[in-house]
Symmetry: C2
Subunit: 117 residues, 2 copies
DNA sequence: GACGATGCCTTGACATTCTAGGCATCCAGC
DNA sequence: GCTGGATGCCTAGAATGTCAAGGCATCGTC
């Protein structure tokens, strides 16, 4: 996936506030570097989610700064240096909290959307 | 509900991008004025959603400007003048579209969150 | 040696939401 | 008659997060 792919279309935007949760979740599965996160998220969501690098890296920086992620340079299978992110204990808590909040909001919005009359 | 109630607590934030959809939905049920929207949304969502007036009114202005809502001054049951909003045809389309997008995103995020291993 | 994929990053614009106020009217209670 | 709360509208400014659009370096392949 080259840089040009990500600039071709503008749909598939995500909801502001969910990106952190998604990143934390992906990092919780196993340590992973940024570039791979994009692909993994896209793959799991069956192309419904398309995270931009311009959104991802600032978010990673933010999450690391808040102590929810920790980074470590390692070598990929491809033999390159990459920054692997994994969850801290606080990150785990944060993920749980955000997940709970997400579900609450989801339910609330469903209540609204399904109101007839 | 006075202004002071809404400044006392800071939780129950909503996701950026969902407010427009919620407003359109509420207005689709029946013409309604801004002040009542807040109460209605809170009531239907069982207090899970708390819309701030400072978010609401700019949003109403935005939606009206885009041709999705139309406003009309009428008298409330309480005998006051209030601005009643209702959906335009384009607003109806927009609501359907946003609802579909919301469901798609919801599903995508669920896929991520429910990924084990 | 050009091009695509892999990897990282930054800058600036943009939109949306929140904070924190303001204003006017009406009614109930003291 | 006055005060405070509820009903209704609105705004300015800050904070935040995302996006667009670039840049850089390395590697492999044609």
């Amino acid at each position: 996936m080259s840089r040009h792919d990500e600039t071709t279309r503008g749909d598939a935007e995500l909801l502001q506030g969910t990106l952190d949760m998604l990143i934390l979740k992906i990092a919780a599965l196993r340590p992973i570097h940024g570039y791979a996160m994009v692909q993994r998220l896209q793959q799991i969501s069956r192309d419904a989610l398309q995270i931009r690098q311009g959104s991802l890296y600032p978010a990673l920086y933010r999450l690391e700064n808040r102590g929810w992620l920790k980074a470590e340079w390692k070598t990929t299978e491809g033999g390159r240096e990459a920054k692997y992110y994994s969850l801290t204990r606080a990150g785990r808590r944060q993920l749980d909290q955000e997940t709970a909040g997400w579900k609450r909001l989801c339910q609330a919005i469903s209540l609204i959307l399904e109101t007839a009359e």
